[in-house]
Symmetry: C2
Subunit: 412 residues, 2 copies
């Protein structure tokens, strides 16, 4: 089955992150030294969920990634356990710890150990002990609540400066449904087929196959369209769980219901992806690069990602400098065949952009106006190649000295 998203209407974003059947919690368990920093999160659903997930394409996969891949072989899950402060990657006891996290969770919740998804984020290569989980996981279970998602979103943060949550309410089959999720990002962000950590919950009833396919489709234009620093992490995971408690007839193929679900999943994942880019390590600005008129979608995407990933473009945007020559340079080394001599480039804020380049060469513009627009907290770069119908958008952030400071100090 090949499904394409065709619905692009506005959807109703809400700020209530609860979803029928789900509870969550986030606590400090002692993995992190700072007692004020939560480091352990749980999601629990009162029934088994159809569950789809995408994982990092990095050849170095953290232990929780391989354990979750095995546990999700049946596309079913009922709980998620996540720690921050330690990636549980590249250590001798990694699998033992990841499995212990699942076992303690299953035991405390009285569910099947196969139905637990496990994830970790933090420093790579430091051994994690089972101790914080032995008391932490039962304590988490005790604090599970229908309004616990903010605590959970807080507990998975590493160098993130704010938690990232998004929720949408909509109707399918006469039933009110929700999709809600939370994510962490900040560094080592250059998702490729998967992402940092993101957990999405819905009460929509949808078949496991379709859930997987919709996740893949939406992921391509959301998390896979984000880059903070070009480093694809060892721990990336995005996981969608559907409780089916909304009461709609199970969605099993393309059609209006499927399109509504796709559209809402897209909205939630795009919001989370953009928040991840906005909160990139050291970032002061969210940058969106919108490419149109490309020979095809894939060259449009490669150009958009190349521009938002260029250190030189990012450093210029950090200084609100309309150095469009660096944008053309980054377009020029993107993959795909296209003619840069047709390129038109406009840059600015969300509200207003000014054309800086036509036919691949510069045109006069007001440096003062460009500086003012690029000083906003959200930047747009519009590129029209005038060579076809291909289009794509990528999201990134500016590069500041703070990025270097954060990453020089991270382990200490």
């Amino acid at each position: 089955m090949v499904i394409k998203m065709t619905m692009f209407n506005e959807v109703k974003v809400i700020d209530d992150y609860s979803v029928k059947g789900f509870k969550a919690a986030g606590i400090h368990s002692g993995i992190r030294k700072n007692p004020n920093k939560k480091d352990l999160a749980m999601i629990y659903c009162e029934k088994k969920c159809n569950t789809a997930a995408l994982f990092t394409t990095n050849k170095v996969k953290a232990a929780p990634i391989t354990v979750s891949m095995a546990n999700l072989a049946d596309n079913r899950a009922q709980a998620v356990i996540v720690n921050s402060g330690n990636a549980n990657a590249c250590t001798p006891n990694g699998h033992e710890i990841a499995r212990a996290m699942c076992e303690l969770t299953a035991k405390s919740l009285e569910i099947d150990v196969q139905d637990v998804v496990v994830a970790s984020t933090g420093v790579i290569g430091q051994e994690l002990s089972v101790a914080p989980f032995v008391n932490g996981i039962p304590a988490l279970v005790d604090s599970l609540s229908e309004i616990g998602f903010s605590d959970a979103a807080n507990a998975i943060m590493t160098t993130d400066t704010f938690p990232k949550q998004s929720a949408v309410e909509f109707e399918i089959d006469g039933k009110t449904c929700r999709v809600a999720g939370f994510a962490k990002g900040s560094g080592m962000i250059n998702p490729n087929m998967a992402t940092m950590l993101a957990f999405i919950m819905t009460d929509v009833s949808i078949s496991p196959e379709l859930l997987k396919e919709t996740l893949s489709i939406v992921n391509e234009d959301t998390f896979n369209a984000v880059s903070v620093d070009g480093d694809t992490s060892t721990n990336d995971m995005v996981c969608v769980m559907s409780s089916g408690l909304a009461g709609n007839t199970e969605i099993i193929g393309d059609g209006d219901d499927c399109q509504i679900f796709l559209r809402t999943l897209y909205t939630v994942m795009l919001n989370l992806a953009r928040e991840i880019a906005r909160d990139g390590e050291g970032a002061t600005k969210l940058v969106g690069c919108i490419v149109s008129g490309a020979p095809n979608d894939s060259s449009a995407k490669s150009i958009a990602k190349s521009v938002v990933s260029s250190s030189l473009v990012k450093a210029a945007l950090g200084a609100a400098d309309a150095n469009w020559g660096r944008i053309l340079c980054a377009m020029g080394y993107a993959e795909g065949e296209f003619d840069v001599n047709q390129a038109e480039v406009a840059i600015g804020s969300v509200e207003k952009s000014i054309t800086v380049c036509k036919n691949g060469t510069g045109v006069p513009f007001s440096e003062e106006e460009a500086y003012a627009l690029l000083s906003e907290s959200e930047i747009r770069i519009y590129i029209d190649l005038h060579s076809g119908e291909g289009h794509a958008t990528a999201w990134g952030c500016d590069l500041t000295a703070e990025y270097v400071r954060i990453n020089a100090d991270y382990r200490s």
Copy 2:
């Protein structure tokens, strides 16, 4: 003909950068505002040279690149004209200016305009006027000298903090020969098939076909093995000119003479490449990543380049932090198939390294010793994949807040 470099003996590096038949000069012509900063360089040979060059693979090619490509169609050149302070890229009058630079040079030197190579480096997208060249080029010709190479090396610098020169003396066919060159680097450095700007001169007599082939072979392991910031520039060029004045019998195929020439060209280009990495924008350390035991050379190269290009690895090295997990992460997203579970990693200085990872997981090491070793100005990362005979080395630098400062301010 497929030639492989087989000779790996030490060669005699000298600090006299003159080569029989060649003269050079560097002056301030007014392209840059600062009168103390040279901005125009010339190389001239008393006879026509067999000449080979490689150019940027960026789809956006600066005007001097396309003009030089055309002029070098016959593999012959007698002079090079280069300006800094302006890339002469992405402007409406670019080709006109590049051709005018060639014409003024040809007229002043009384040579054929087809025998002039032209190059530019600096800001992209700002119109260059012909004015500085009208007086500058005749003045350059007047100041040409056999010891003018340092002035020329100075005149092509942009954000470079020191000029980059290298020379080797050797014997072929009983004749004393030389290869000498100079280069500029610093930012937008991620050569792909070609490089920043590098000009190499030799008095060895060698056929144009063989000169081209040796340049390509050596380039792969020198300039193409360097990354400062992942941005492949629009103006990259490496050019080798051979005057043939050493008096040796022309080298036309593989054999001892060809191997000696390969080896010396390798030494000069590797020295220049390493100096470019060492002087990367904001860099405080030269980083060499030596990969061995890979299934093949191409996966070794992709791993080595991935490690030296990772922003997170580079930021950690800037802080002398032995955060080897980031090295494994960067290996994991490199192209090629290999088993990271076999990987052994050692890090340190040129003199001493310590093992931090075996079989893909961490081993105990002294953080204090690692900190001391990584505080040196030259860092080595050794990776052995224990999976074959493939090996490669890549060169890079650390990432500091200074990189961001330089690139936020560059255009202003």
